[in-house]
Each structure stands twice: as structure tokens, then as C-alpha cells.
Symmetry: C2
Subunit: 336 residues, 2 copies
DNA sequence: TTGCTGTGTTGGATCGATCAAGTCAATCGT
DNA sequence: ACGATTGACTTGATCGATCCAACACAGCAA
């Protein structure tokens, strides 16, 4: 029988204050307006405070059925971009009096099952999923009302990102500088997000009449070795004069590979990133990249999810994030 | 009255299976050995499975008093090092059937109060705190039995890091190369950890008879601008031929400042980092840094915390992590 | 006095699981 | 053959808060 840290219940407070347990509950839940006299309320509050009483969240949840924990699933927490997503989401959740359980889907192959279990087992109210795998979504359908997917397969999400116009800007920028051999380095995650970006990128090239050869696309995980080897394949091809990366971190791999191959950035090779994490400005030369309104996205996701949980039917207005191309020093006219 | 996603309770399973609710509980909790016949157990399991039943975690927690959620508080999730700590901790927790609520203490000024509330309110079983502030620990004392602090003030933690021998290695390495003007760039967080490292660093210099002038210490947050301006102060001083950084990311700021100041690494300036995050190898030149057994630390922390929660009295053997100096290309003999 | 309204407070059922104690048949020992 | 033991389940209390229905009681009108 381990001694709990504080065996103080509404009951003990009631006894100490000389009122009924119901009254304590009334006072603590803030529903005392017009139901409890000011004097008793103050008295109960004082006693509760003195004893250091906190209502048992577990008991409350059981009774009310209202959970105040959310999950957030991201492909890789170690990527600063997802760290930023988490920080902003946690803040928004906290302001709505919710806690956030973070799930790294790379690290946890059975993440979908875990989320389903947690929802069904009433451990969490619902979950935000950033970037889902094509295999994930059908399984998530089971708890569709408790989940909000960002950058997933289905385009009907209340929080969407206008990747297309962003990629337009990138490609037009490079084409405008005179590049015609543009390579693409994407993350190795099996997320539809990354495929969608790449597909649109190729379409855009086609629209502008630019060629895209076999071997101009390479994949890389964020483990450095793999990342640079993916980058090396691209850097070694002289026909490629610019490389677009799925993520700023991958750009770091390109910088490294370029240095080893003796190609100077931006004179011999232009590089564009994605996400505009802080790190983009510490690279040298500073990275031209596509900025994404991280904080706003996370905020909106939390709010829309909470709305959805309250009433799955209500399809509140959705939010579409716009990307902004930040032109810095890693892009220039092709040399030679 | 919002329709719950699955109103399937042990009761409904019991009805469907034609047994009592207790029997369902017995079966589901795995305590059926010798108490329930194999045939009924299989039958109940089958029915439960068919209905998609998951025991209500909230109700179970209320009854048993055993929570299976932990918190992990770190100074800054966006730093890959803490991302790695989280990933490893979450994995260890998951294997012990626990979920992890991540708390970014920079982003949440009232984090101590939140953790205390969560513990007292029985939302989480306990918490791991990585790097506490000197003001935090007295307040954490209130729930000392539910908290495990890593790199905090008090040295009695079951998980400790032998920072001293690591710093010895760094300073001896630099001194051995012939450096006598060694600057120090530390994180601006008000955590005792960082002060402790710096204090020991100075002591070590003294022991080796090396001077440490005013102005050779600078602080930086991880926001890039601030970081480089902190780094610039050091880089501009010709007397400084080597800089030791609290964290690998800060080293990136130094690289940048050095480039701007026209000092080449490692010829004009040696740089040493801390933590050996992946990123250390993508910098160019690759960063000499102090590696820390991140995964092991997180694992041990989770295990020790769970032990402690089971029996606060049992002071199980403690784990002391050793640091390893990874000598790469950012350090060399001082030039000129 | 009786009836009525409204404010302030309380009893008790309830959420869904766990667990100790109890029922009842079949089996065992001598 | 009869009480004792075992096996296989069920009954009912319990965790701590919420919340509805009930109640006490004051003030007030008739």
C-alpha cells in the first residue's frame, strides 16, 4: 500500500470545512454562481487551498466523459520543424486546458494502433496527425471523428497547406534565374506529403517546359550519412545547377556534398530548402527557403480539433496556410 | 449529449458474452490464470475483440490508483539533443506501457506548477525533469517522490552525468594542442546545469595554469541572431584561439561568426561542441564535440523513475553517464 | 395559517473498472 | 458417505468527482 502523495479528496475538504462533499464539488468546478453563497464559497476555497487540494482528474474524467489530453503525431521530433509544431500546439492546447502527448511515428511503427487504443481506451480525447502515410489513413478512419490530419492524403482537412503555390514560387524563382537542370532531394519517409510535393514539382517543371531527367530525384533520411549520400548523387551531375529540398535539414546535406564535390554555393549550385527553420540562417550562405507559418498551423489544428471533438458534424471554416519564399544567398544565376 | 466514439464497456461485453462483468474484467486484465476457465476466457476475448472493446483507462486508473502517464520536462524541444532525449524516453516508457507528456519549460514559464498540479490531480504518475533552474527545485520538493531530476542542483540523483571528466578531456585536448586563450559560449538558459559546467571549466583552466580573462565568456540563446552576436564577442578577440560551447548548435553560431570575422576553422580558431548531435557531422569542418549517451540516459531515467514511484524508499543503484570526446576536424594547433 | 417562490445545501446515483468476499457445483480424502 | 477442498464464476463495495432530485428554510402574498 504505497502512500499516495496527497490523499486529499473533496471529501476530506468537505469534512474540514464542515460542508457536504457536493458543495465542495460545486465550488471547485466553478459552477457555484448563484448556487452557493459567497461566504461558504470563500470558506471552502480557503480550506481547500490550505490542504493543497486538487480535484482528481481521473475521477472527473470518468464522470464527465470529457478528456483533456490530446495526442500529436509527427514523423520525426528531432527535426526542428516538428519541434516547432509541437511547441506551438502545446501552447494552444495548454491555453485550452489540455495536455499533449507527443508521438514520434518514425520511432513507433505501431503508432496508429496506439492512437486508436488511446482514443478507444479514453486516455486521450483525440489526436492531430501531421503527415500521414498512405497506409495509415484507412486505419485512422476508424476514429475519424477524433482525428485531424494535416498534410495527409485527403484534401478535405480543416487545416490545409497550399503547397502548390509555394512550389510555383520556388520553381519560378529558379527558372527566372536561368536554371534548367533542377534536381529534387526528398525525405525518405513514406508519407504522402512528400510524394505530393514532388509530384507537383514535376508537373510545374513540365508546365514551364523544363526537362526532368531520371536520376535527378534522390531520397534521404535525416541521418547524416544517408542524407549526404543522397545529396552526392545529385551534386555529381553537372547538368544539375539547382537542387530543391523537402526540408532545410536536407539542404545541410547538400551543402556538405557540394563542398566535397568542389561545387560552390550559390555560384556553381543553387539550393532551396523547405520550412525556414532557424537553422536556415546559420548555414553559410544563408539558405533560400520556403517559409511555412508553423505556429499558426499548429494553433489552428488544435482549435479545429477541439471544435470537431465537441461536435463532429460542425464543419467549421477551414484554414489554408500560404507559403512564402524567402530569397537569401543560396540561389543565384547558374555559373560557367 | 455527444455520442462517444465507442460506448463499449466491460458491461456490454459481458452481456454479449453471457458472463458477468467481473469475469470480463478478470479476462481483460490478464489475471485470468487459474481463475477463469480457458474456454470462457477465449470466448470473452473473442467477443471483446469483435466489439472492439478497450478497457476505459480512466476508470481503471481511478480504481487502482496506478497512473500510466509520465511527464518529461526539457528546456527546449527544438534542440535536437532534447528531441533525442524525448524519443528515447518515450520508447522506454512505451515498453513499460506508459505514455509521455512532453513539457517545454522555456515555452511554459509555469511549468513547475503545472507538473505539481498534474501529479496532485492524479493526471500523471510522475515526471522526469532535465536541467532544472535553481528556483525550480525547492518548489519541486513538494512532489519529490514523483520526480527525477537529471542535471539539476542536487547531486544525489539516481541518474547523473560525469560532466567533470568530460570537461577535463576537452580542456586537456585544447591545452595539449597549445591553446592558452580559450573562450566559453554558454546557453542563456537560467539552468544550473550550464552554470555548473562553466564553473568547472574555469576551475580546470586554473588547475592547468591557464588564464581566463573577463569577456571570454559569452551567453547565447538558440535564436540564431542572438547566438551569433554572443559568438561574435568572442570571435573578435584575437587572444581567443579556441572556443568551447555548451551545445553543438551554439557551435554553428560560432562557425558563422568566425566566417564573418574572417577567421578560418580550425586554422585560426578551434571550436568544441557539446552533445554530439547528428548535426555536428554536417558542419564543415566536422565538429569536435563531447558525446553524451543520450539514449541510455533517457532509458535509465525512465526506469529509475518507475522504480521510485513504486517505492520511493528504495534507493536503487544509480547510473553515472560518462562523456566521450569525439575529436574531429574543428580543432587544431593554434595558427599564425 | 397555508401556500408559494427562490436561495442554499445535501443525499445518493452514477461513470467503468478492480477486487475482496461469497455462491455453488464438482471433486477429493479418509 | 460426508465434510473439506478446489475450481469457476458472480455479487457488491469501492475509487473520487459530478450532477440531478430532493429538501430545508426564509421571505412574502393571500
Amino acid at each position: 500500500m504505497k502512500a499516495g502523495p496527497s490523499p486529499i479528496t473533496s471529501n476530506s475538504v468537505a469534512k474540514a470545512a464542515g460542508v457536504s462533499q457536493s458543495t465542495v464539488s460545486l465550488v471547485m468546478s466553478g459552477k457555484s454562481a448563484g448556487r452557493v453563497s459567497d461566504s461558504t464559497r470563500d470558506h471552502v476555497m480557503a480550506v481547500a487551498d490550505r490542504l493543497g487540494y486538487r480535484p482528481n482528474a481521473t475521477a472527473r474524467m470518468l464522470r464527465t466523459g470529457v478528456l483533456n489530453i490530446l495526442a500529436l503525431a509527427v514523423p520525426n521530433v528531432k527535426q526542428p520543424f516538428f519541434g516547432e509544431i509541437f511547441v506551438a500546439a502545446e501552447k494552444a492546447a495548454r491555453q485550452a486546458d489540455h495536455a499533449v502527448v507527443l508521438i514520434d511515428t518514425q520511432n513507433d511503427p505501431k503508432w496508429v494502433e496506439r492512437i486508436i487504443d488511446m482514443v478507444r481506451g479514453r486516455m486521450i480525447a483525440g489526436s492531430i496527425v501531421y503527415a500521414s502515410d498512405s497506409e495509415d489513413e484507412p486505419r485512422l478512419a476508424e476514429i475519424a471523428d477524433q482525428v485531424l490530419v494535416i498534410e495527409g492524403q485527403n484534401s478535405g482537412s480543416p487545416v490545409d497547406i497550399n503547397v502548390e503555390s509555394g512550389i510555383d514560387a520556388v520553381v519560378e524563382h529558379l527558372a527566372g534565374l536561368g536554371h534548367s537542370g533542377i534536381g529534387y532531394l526528398s525525405a525518405a519517409y513514406p508519407k504522402v506529403t512528400f510524394k505530393r510535393r514532388f509530384d507537383y514539382f514535376r508537373k510545374k517543371l513540365r508546365d514551364l517546359g523544363l526537362e526532368f531527367r531520371n536520376g535527378w530525384h534522390s531520397r534521404a533520411t535525416f541521418e547524416i550519412e544517408a542524407s549526404t549520400s543522397g545529396a552526392q548523387k545529385l551534386v555529381r551531375q553537372p547538368a544539375i545547377t539547382a537542387i530543391v529540398c523537402d526540408d532545410d535539414l536536407l539542404a545541410a546535406g547538400v551543402y556538405r556534398a557540394a563542398r566535397q564535390a568542389g561545387r560552390a554555393i550559390p555560384d556553381d549550385l543553387s539550393v532551396v530548402g523547405f520550412n525556414d527553420i532557424e537553422f536556415a540562417r546559420v548555414l553559410s550562405p544563408e539558405l533560400t527557403t520556403l517559409a511555412i507559418p508553423t505556429e499558426r498551423i499548429a494553433q489552428e489544428a488544435v482549435h479545429k480539433l477541439l471544435e470537431k471533438l465537441e461536435d463532429p458534424a460542425r464543419v467549421s471554416s477551414s484554414y489554408e496556410a500560404e507559403l512564402t519564399l524567402k530569397i537569401r544567398s543560396s540561389t543565384a544565376r547558374p555559373g560557367e
